[in-house]
């Protein structure tokens, strides 16, 4: 969805600046897990707005449906049952793209402009440029992008970049009946989260906190968690996510160094030829064989 073309902070596989004359406000979606009732209105709204439909699946003994993110389901309520503070807790987390400030998908992507990051923080896939290699799946610290079986392109939450571009809030926010989902400037969302955390602490959730992981430069989808010290309780939300060092070497330092080394090897050969010169057999033998 290429609606905003003047505020592109970063573009995949591109070494020169992207059009970024326009500076927009950094936005964020705040997911207050403590207010979520698991109604899945956000899931429906997402499919409604993006005009996608999930296949009818099977029940595997959980409210979670579908069982995982798919190329059609860009957001998913994940249900976890745990025992904390000596009592059963049903933790429901709306999963989907976190819109990292330092996006691993964008770093790994080899196709120019298949992944872009707007100055408002949204990380968007432009499927018309996607080549289907799946490098973004390896790059993502949250296991979010899904390769479609239909067209071998990857899909994920756009944070409704098309709606946000024209001043609307994302579809999921619009649908949430408990205001567990709120959307606004990242600054306002942090402030709102802090009020919620103070409230939660007063009510006995002393480890309540904001999930805005610094390892990926912060995210533009944040959580208020009752157990911010144990994000893994929420269906394995990573504690300190970062771009994997393996991906950083592969698509970071190695990329320019290896390319330069190969070019220099070829150049060294040419310089050897014009300085030391070819290795020839004695003239008369060459003549005989010529």
């Amino acid at each position: 969805m290429a609606l905003q073309s003047l505020d592109i902070l970063r573009r995949s596989a591109t070494t020169t600046p992207s059009p970024q004359q326009r500076q927009t406000t950094e936005v964020a979606k705040l997911i207050d897990v403590t207010k979520c009732i698991g109604c899945k209105a956000c899931q429906s709204a997402c499919q409604e707005w993006n005009d996608l439909r999930e296949e009818i699946g099977i029940n595997e003994g959980s409210y979670q449906n579908p069982h995982d993110l798919t190329a059609n389901s860009w957001t998913l309520m994940r249900f976890a049952e745990t025992e904390q503070n000596g009592t059963l807790e049903w933790l429901i987390r709306k999963d989907g793209c976190m819109h990292c400030a330092d996006p691993g998908c964008l770093k790994a992507c080899p196709s120019p402009g298949a992944i872009v990051q707007y100055s408002n923080g949204i990380v968007d896939f432009h499927e018309e440029n996607c080549i289907g290699c799946g490098y973004c799946i390896a790059g993502c610290p949250f296991d979010v992008p899904r390769l479609s079986k239909k067209d071998s392109k990857v899909y994920k939450c756009t944070l409704c970049s098309d709606r946000v571009a024209v001043g609307l809030e994302p579809a999921c926010i619009k649908a949430c009946p408990t205001q567990a989902l709120v959307f606004g400037s990242k600054e306002d969302m942090i402030e709102h989260a802090n009020d919620r955390i103070t409230d939660l602490k007063e009510r006995g959730f002393e480890n309540a906190g904001l999930y805005d992981p610094a390892g990926v430069g912060g995210t533009h989808v944040m959580y208020v968690l009752h157990h911010a010290d144990q994000p893994q309780l929420y269906n394995d939300l990573p504690k300190d996510p970062t771009i994997s060092p393996v991906v950083s070497v592969w698509k970071g330092i190695m990329k320019p160094l290896a390319t330069a080394a190969m070019a220099l090897t070829a150049l060294a050969g040419f310089f050897h030829y014009v300085t030391v010169g070819p290795n020839e057999t004695d003239g008369d033998d060459e003549e005989h064989s010529a």
Partner: protein
């Protein structure tokens, strides 16, 4: 020069089957290098144009890789026993300065292959199967979904490292063929001159002249 004396001056180094096998490997190598580098560094993404765009590059690369693996395996089966390192080879490598300075007369006797050629062979023996295995792990949409994301990450990095080593090695291989005059004919027409053989591969030359096996 009469036609009758001509054959005696030339020595057969590779038969037609070996040449065909080598060039299938070489062509698939070039296709793989260009399609692989296109997806490795953005400045080389334009190589995808040779293959019909980015998506076609992604689709074709692994299939070409399988062809190269099979083709190279046939080469390796034929030539591995010529590539076992000897004591002379260690000395040859110690005198690598003499090698690059064209002071071949100072080097220990070389048989069918010199130490540089043998090392290249073993680099290929290590990198090509590794490229196949890691390539299967990252092959989408067919095989990658069966591996964990961590495994795919490691495979992608190892694939890139092996490809880098291999491409660098082949650049040296191609340059050596251009640098040592009279070499290319060995792989194009299958023959080399006696003088070429006597100078660069004296051990092999003596065996061939005696009518021994290559």
């Amino acid at each position: 020069m009469s036609a009758t004396t001509r054959p005696s001056l030339l020595l057969r180094r590779y038969n037609a089957g070996q040449r065909l096998n080598h060039w299938i490997t070489a062509i698939t190598f070039l296709l793989l290098t260009f399609s692989g580098l296109a997806l490795f560094h953005p400045s080389l993404f334009w190589f995808t144009q040779f293959f019909g765009g980015g998506t076609w590059t992604r689709i074709l690369h692994p299939y070409i890789g399988v062809v190269m693996f099979v083709s190279f395996s046939l080469l390796a089966l034929q030539f591995w026993h010529h590539n076992l390192l000897s004591r002379n080879d260690v000395q040859w490598l110690r005198q690598i300065r003499d090698v690059v300075q064209n002071h071949e007369d100072r080097l220990p006797e070389v048989d069918r292959y010199n130490a540089g050629q043998k090392l290249l062979f073993w680099v290929m023996i290590v990198t090509i199967p590794t490229l196949l295995i890691t390539g299967v792990v990252i092959w989408r949409p067919w095989f990658a979904p069966y591996f964990t994301i961590d495994t795919v990450r490691i495979a992608a990095l190892v694939h890139a490292v092996c490809a880098f080593v291999m491409i660098s090695g082949i650049i040296v291989h191609i340059y050596a063929a251009l640098w040592v005059k009279g070499t290319i004919g060995a792989m194009v027409r299958g023959t080399v001159t006696r003088a070429w053989a006597a100078k660069h591969h004296p051990g092999w030359y003596r065996r061939v002249i005696r009518g021994e096996d290559h």
